[in-house]
Chain length 416, copies 2
């Protein structure tokens, strides 16, 4: 079964806000076997919204709209949909008491604009918005469903998980659900085109119900195999497993992950399994390793902290880097990056440590050490491993790639 997403908001079309909602909605609906056929971003404009709604309802069974449900003048989605489906706005007791409860300790928010939030169309099913004031609305027409959700990402996420998915599973459309399975592995150390040639025979032999996609980012290539199956095909998962295991053996020498997990999550799992701890000493990556390593809940079990050492003083006095080496070899050198890793490992009493020192640019490059020259170090309980990277691109790309590279290097040592 197919669905479409309509994201509503001028801010999306002048480039002030990036639409992250569609990706989340697509992932969640995919799990129900619902394929997103198209995403359409439209203005806060009645005619534009009407046209998009008509076109999408003509193409698919399920339409999800996000945005335009705020209390301010620029938000018109609720009025447009109410009118489009031929209804009228009426006060809702449930929504009113929910909103009053939501803002009980925020009297400044309970004003006449907020009060418009408990006016709801009399021709839709209203679902609760657990953390927000905008009611979720479900309109039905000719057996097709349109869900109107807030654009605030967290409100939308909770709405999808707690309201939309259960609603769909109970709806008349539930018998149309099929099975879509995505399996992703991650490889590193081979160019995309060389990889494609290497696995060409396997890829060409795939059944036409399966499709492979190449997703390169920061020097890592994610290979995603998508399979489309009948809802009652009991062997769907097995068929995917067989193809994925063939693929894994083909790319074994470059394989870094058998799942579509962020590198830092893989690192965290490997460290927790070893009951080991880690710290980071970052110069050019300036905290990106730290943010990734403590991004996920439970990271305090293995991640002790970091020293972001921009100046040589910090490298010397906090990380105990040898002053002579700093002067002789420079901050961007194998000697310094190795001492940074050992320094932070000793300072924070950890089992492992990562360090980066490089020229992220745009300035600071020399003929000897041009922009993109990055030394990375991985300190294990036994050794310190260093590597010199020559990265292309600009400041953001260089630091992202260096971050991915040092995590990949650590993963290999943790897996051995």
């Amino acid at each position: 079964m197919r669905a479409e997403i309509i994201t509503i908001g001028d801010e999306l079309l002048i480039g002030q806000v990036v639409d992250t909602n569609s990706a989340f909605i697509a992932q969640e609906l995919n799990k129900l076997g619902i394929e997103i056929y198209q995403v359409t971003s439209v203005h806060d404009d009645a005619d534009h919204i009407r046209r998009a709604v008509s076109e999408t309802l003509a193409r698919v069974d399920i339409v999800i709209t996000t945005g335009g449900l705020g209390p301010t003048k620029d938000d018109i989605t609720k009025h447009v949909l109410c009118d489009y489906f031929g209804g009228q706005l009426v006060p809702s007791q449930e929504v009113e008491s929910h909103v009053r409860q939501l803002y009980k300790d925020r009297p400044d928010v309970l004003n006449r604009l907020t009060e418009t939030q408990w006016l709801v169309p009399n021709n839709c099913t209203v679902l609760p918005n657990r953390i927000g004031s905008a009611p979720l609305m479900v309109f039905e027409k000719n057996g097709k469903l349109l869900f109107s959700l807030p654009g605030v990402p967290r409100e939308m996420e909770i709405a999808i998980s707690e309201q939309v998915i259960p609603f769909l599973e109970q709806s008349s459309l539930s018998n149309k659900l099929s099975t879509i399975i995505h399996r992703t592995i991650q490889v590193e150390g081979i160019p995309e085109s060389a990889l494609a040639i290497h696995i060409e025979n396997w890829e060409n032999a795939l059944p036409n119900t399966m499709h492979l996609a190449y997703l390169p980012k920061n020097g890592i290539i994610r290979l995603r195999l998508s399979g489309y199956f009948d809802k009652n095909d009991a062997s769907a998962s097995l068929q995917m497993d067989e193809q994925i295991s063939q693929l894994q053996s083909l790319v074994a020498q470059w394989l870094i992950a058998e799942e579509d997990k962020p590198l830092e999550v893989i690192v965290g799992e490997l460290l927790k399994a070893k009951h080991a701890t880690i710290a980071t000493a970052e110069s050019c990556t300036g905290g990106k390793l730290a943010v990734l390593l403590n991004k996920h809940a439970g990271s305090s079990a293995f991640y002790m902290g970091s020293v972001i050492a921009y100046s040589n003083d910090v490298k010397q006095h906090v990380l105990n880097v040898n002053r002579e080496d700093l002067d002789q070899f420079g901050a961007v050198s194998e000697q310094v990056v190795a001492q940074m890793a050992c320094g932070v490992k000793n300072l924070l009493h950890t089992d492992y440590a990562l360090a980066t020192s490089g020229v992220a640019g745009p300035s600071g490059g020399t003929t000897e050490k041009p922009v993109g020259t990055v030394w990375i170090a991985v300190a294990t309980p036994e050794h310190v491993y260093t590597e010199l990277l020559h990265l292309k691109g600009e400041r953001e790309q260089i630091t992202d790639r260096a971050t991915a590279k040092v995590l990949t290097k650590l993963i290999k040592y943790l897996q051995d």
Copy 2:
């Protein structure tokens, strides 16, 4: 004049990749007075791409497509467009020599798949892709233009800035360009709906050529005024200035920025103006302040570094936080966060310092200090200012809000 964007790629529609390209394209075309009417995300599917292209060319003068130009099997955009506009693929000398040059030290990349990159449609104008192998293509039909660009963000950005914009300014459409002006200010400390009521009379009195949007994020509300003017309207900028200055005086008490600049950029400018330096000591924000403060080129002029202090040992031994205070008041306390700020300020010899210590969750909360309890500190050359935050939401939201809050607090002291 209006344009539309078509983003092409299955990965966008299964939620594996977030489309950040559209926002960039919209911002750049807006500067030429080109309004993005709609963004449409479609599959790597010939029929789907054809329909989207037909529909968009029927609605607007300019169409930009991104994605589907890679050398691998799943990328079909070039073939579909070539065929749609009735041409054939022919080898291009220029593209071939560019690609060979691009990969001169990467023989493993120069394979038969890569060689397909220098096949180009004989019915389009080929523009150079400075950093990638996929040629940029411009198709013309009935005076309308379709640009086909790579989906790799950096390649797309350079293509827009260095090729598409100049091409449009030279094209037959250039006389149709009008003027769109966006002005954004940022306020903090008032709820969106209360703000809307506060400025209601001013907003309702706006000319119908101007439109206000509310963009709340991390406790900060960006107010964006968009004005649409005739290309020859010499007073356009002046009209915007007058409205914006009225708005600024209305919201003066909550105003934190007169431009749509990231908080860390404002901080950097204020620090550079004072020739002052800064360091950060982060517990719950775990490096987010560090990443922001050194994200932009030239940050090493004012940003010295950071200590990400997760464990109490690090707080005590690296940041010199008093052990008794840690034991008596706990890590999440006014005493500790203030000492963290002073500690890193002394350790890194800076003029200012920021510190955060809180319960980001999901676990670790107590009745006394529930998840969302965050102490922040701003150390100036004279004082240390602390503030207790009670933040709602989950780990990511709480740390993002705390990061925004401490930067906002710093901005206020730097502006005084």
